[in-house]
Symmetry: none
Subunit: 171 residues, 2 copies
DNA sequence: CTTCAATTTGACACTTTGTGACACTTTATG
DNA sequence: CATAAAGTGTCACAAAGTGTCAAATTGAAG
């Protein structure tokens, strides 16, 4: 691996907390193009919150989920504590780790998502990068359009979200 | 350009912990071909984390498990703690130690898994190398496909993994 | 609106990796 | 011993991955 120290200063040295912004919050959506080798430029403001790279895993809805290291390491540490003599533990490890990748940014702010994962999510040509709070997602353009339509469907059950308590005061 | 050492020097000199990446974590899956002599090229990023070679043992699910020295020693230590008056302990010891091998990489990054172990796991022609966090596994292509189907089976018991708490907050 | 800086993009050069082939060495066998 | 089988090292090629740079685009500020 190349020794990323002399690079473009800002994203390398800027290890400090983001001034005046909430820490690790991802908002908005961006459509970006893949280059000839399949690399994806991550939006600069997402990058600033994940300077030391990210974990990409298979998502639950035919997409890819992207987590900061801190987030994913906690999961991995918990898994590592379980015993390999337990069959369910072995299967869970396989499910989670075999479909993830640890990625870092190149000097131009791009990541190369493994071909297998891109194919899984049918991502090619361009990709939609969607902030969902503490992580973000990568979607094939078509799949995202479909998802958006579902979110905005006026005929859908009005009450589908009622179970979630989203009061604005903390507890 | 001090970093781009050639493969030869890398495995000879031992070298430093992988910078900027989580230590000893194996992710993703790769299908590789065996050569005429049965040697398997291990993915470069796996190799970098096991420069001083690996232990291969019979897995629990008709596959082969591959551990770094450090990890294998930890397993051995745990086993040593169990009482030899316990028949299951004795059998587990036999299962693990009688079917393992300590292997090192050749200058091209390949290992030669003993024929007996390859046959045990029905590995021939090509092999799937599966990262499962702190170790990785070798699977016959067919066996892995079957395992993957089981992992993704929506009809399987939903609760099979519920025992594992993977919350992301530390304790 | 215009200007300026930051960001994304595409193109290209370069490096690394996996593979297959082949030659050579070591080990086992009669 | 001769011979076969198993194991090991080396090379060259194609494919995959990575770094760099300049043009194009975007977005913010005046």
């Amino acid at each position: 691996m190349s020794q990323s120290v002399k690079l473009k200063e800002r994203w390398v040295t800027g290890a400090s907390p983001i001034k005046g912004k909430v820490e690790q919050m991802f908002f908005g959506q961006y459509e970006h193009n893949l280059d000839a080798k399949g690399r994806i430029t991550i939006p600069a403001n997402f990058r600033e919150q994940t300077l030391d790279g990210v974990f990409v895993t298979e998502g639950f809805d035919h997409n890819l989920s992207v987590y900061s290291k801190r987030h994913f390491e906690a999961i991995a540490a918990n898994l590592a504590k379980t015993s390999i003599t337990n069959p369910a533990s072995r299967e869970l490890r396989r499910k989670i780790f075999s479909n993830s990748a640890e990625l870092s940014y190149d000097p131009a702010g791009r990541i190369l998502v493994p071909a297998r994962l891109r194919e899984m999510a049918q991502i090619k040509g361009s990709v939609v990068i969607v902030g969902i709070g503490d992580s973000f997602e990568l979607w094939a353009v078509d799949a995202w359009k479909e998802q958006e339509m579902r979110l905005n469907d006026p005929n859908a059950d009005e009450n589908r979200w009622q179970a979630f308590d989203l009061t604005t005061r903390g507890e």
